[in-house]
């Protein structure tokens, strides 16, 4: 469904993504793990069109979207939940969601979103800056879902959240998957990734170097951790 082939991205002279290959089937959750600075966020930003890849293909249901403007990629069915959530601080909760609602939602209607995220319903007329980190994260997800996306890119959603909230987040991610949404999850939190992902990928220096289902990953976790993930 979302297929990335030999993706290369540069920031000025530095070669960040060095041939990323990734293929996510429809309705699956794939997680990408890795240390800071290996290119995880750049991968997501390249898919979203926020940085222009220098070469390679990004195929969404067979259409190459590499190099498209972000709004066209979003309209093609890719939604983005950025690192740090980046909700609009001076807009209310409902207004934040409405920015993403380009046409009336068919699947993820406002009513359903508020049912999925009860805490947002209570705070619907609060401004973004007044929300807790967990509420901001739920809002960022709701804002992405209201466009009825086929694929969602989640960049470090667990960052800065309490363990209880991370568990809630895991439930939400599984729920999206059950509804048929394809998910690319970027994470530092291995527990969350293991709990929800159908396949785990590890990125080192701009390349995917390892991939396995969670069960296999867990079996040789110690070795993998030492080799690829611990600083």
């Amino acid at each position: 469904m979302l297929r990335i082939e030999n993706l290369n991205t540069h920031y000025g002279p530095s070669h960040i993504l060095q041939g990323v290959d990734l293929q996510i089937p429809a309705g699956k959750i794939y997680a990408v793990l890795g240390r800071n600075g290996v290119g995880k966020t750049t991968t997501v930003r390249s898919i979203m069109g926020l940085v222009r890849p220098s070469s390679g293909r990004i195929l969404l249901d067979g259409h190459d979207i590499a190099g498209w403007a972000p709004h066209r990629i979003a309209r093609a069915g890719v939604a983005y939940v950025p690192e740090g959530r980046l909700i609009f601080p001076d807009l209310t909760v409902l207004e934040n969601i409405r920015v993403g609602e380009r046409h009336p939602a068919r699947i993820w209607t406002m009513g359903r979103l508020l049912e999925l995220f009860p805490s947002l319903r209570e705070r619907s007329s609060n401004r973004g800056w007044q929300l807790s980190g967990g509420e901001q994260q739920m809002l960022a997800i709701a804002r992405a879902l209201v466009s009825d996306p086929r694929a969602v890119l989640l960049d470090e959603p667990s960052q800065g959240l309490a363990p209880l909230v991370v568990r809630e987040l895991a439930e939400v991610i599984k729920r999206l998957c059950a509804e048929g949404v394809t998910i690319l999850l970027i994470e530092q939190n291995m527990k969350l990734a293991e709990a929800v992902a159908d396949e785990l990928h590890i990125m080192v220096k701009g390349r995917i170097v390892y991939r396995a289902p969670p069960a296999v990953f867990r079996a040789d976790e110690e070795a993998i951790r030492g080799r690829y993930l611990t600083v």
């Binding site: 979203m48 069109g49 926020l50 403007a69 972000p70 709004h71 979003a74 309209r75 939604a79 983005y80 950025p82 980046l86 609009f88 601080p89 001076d90 807009l91 207004e95 409405r98 920015v99 993403g100 380009r102 804002r143 992405a144 466009s147």
Partner: protein
């Protein structure tokens, strides 16, 4: 004249002055809020509005028509300028914008000179607006009442537009995080062109409204851009309510300053700006920059 009537008349004077300052400042602040660029050509659009208004009124014989046509044409010129010359520069630094918008002031100034000549032009008012009313037995120009009312109406209209319409929502969101709005599927370029056109159109509306009092002249642009900057700096860059507040404050300082301290009247506005900047460096309702 008793004190209370005097106060009321001066307040009405100040409100009419505030309306003109608000039309100037609000466009500049909205443009800055969205694009983070300072539009040096803003005063030139004010001047352009006055000349367009003159021609529209002259050709159609209707001041009301000029009031609509002038801002729309100037707004169109602004939007076209944004699409043609600013859009290619968004990936570049701020100095590029300063150069290009400053260049536009020179080009538009010369075009205006070629089209309308160097002599100031007078827009005549319809009888209803050109009359005098008596407030507490003192004569007061009806047109100043009209200006104050126009200012209030337009301020409420802009506020409702920002709060209640989809484009208004996108404008507010874009001023907070343009990239995120883009990633949510909104063509941010269109929002930018739209706000640039609206901002220039509002400046031009101020120009058309000012022309009957001060005549349309090439000198308008220079004074206007300074006033506009002062409004935006006092109100806080990018803040709609700030520009409204600043316009009212500056107008009151100007009107009462001229009356009580005629020798310092010109300095009063800058003293106010200095005072505000000392207390709130980001402007009254602005964020710290």
């Amino acid at each position: 004249m008793d004190f209370l009537p005097f106060l009321l008349v001066q307040c009405l004077n100040a409100l009419s002055q505030a309306a003109l300052l608000f039309f100037l400042g609000v466009g500049l602040t909205l443009i800055f809020g969205i694009m983070r660029i300072v539009n040096f050509a803003h005063g030139t659009f004010y001047m352009l509005g006055a000349f367009l208004g003159y021609s529209a009124a002259h050709l159609s014989g209707s001041f009301w028509f000029a009031l609509i046509a002038g801002p729309i044409i100037a707004g169109g010129v602004g939007a076209a300028f944004e699409i043609g010359l600013l859009r290619p520069l968004y990936r570049r630094g701020d100095s590029a914008f300063l150069m290009v918008t400053f260049g536009l002031t020179l080009v538009l100034g010369d075009i205006t000179r070629l089209l309308w000549g160097v002599d100031p032009l007078q827009i005549s008012l319809p009888n209803a607006l050109g009359a005098i009313v008596f407030l507490f037995d003192e004569p007061f120009p009806t047109y100043r009442l009209f200006l104050a009312a126009a200012g209030i109406i337009v301020a409420v209209a802009i506020w409702q537009f920002l709060e209640r319409t989809r484009l208004g929502l996108l404008i507010r969101a874009t001023s907070q995080n343009a990239e995120m709005v883009h990633a949510l599927g909104v063509n941010v370029n269109l929002v930018r062109s739209g706000i640039f056109g609206i901002g220039c159109g509002l400046a031009a509306l101020g120009g058309v409204l000012a022309a009957p009092m001060v005549t349309a002249s090439l000198g308008m642009a220079g004074n206007a851009i300074i006033d506009a900057f002062v409004i935006v700096i006092i109100g806080g860059m990018g803040s709609f309510l700030g520009s409204l507040l600043a316009a009212v404050l500056v107008a009151f300082v100007q009107v009462f300053g001229t009356y009580y301290f005629p020798d310092f009247a010109l300095a009063a506005m800058y003293l106010l700006m200095l005072l505000v900047l000392m207390i709130r460096p980001g402007g009254l309702l602005g964020k710290e920059i």
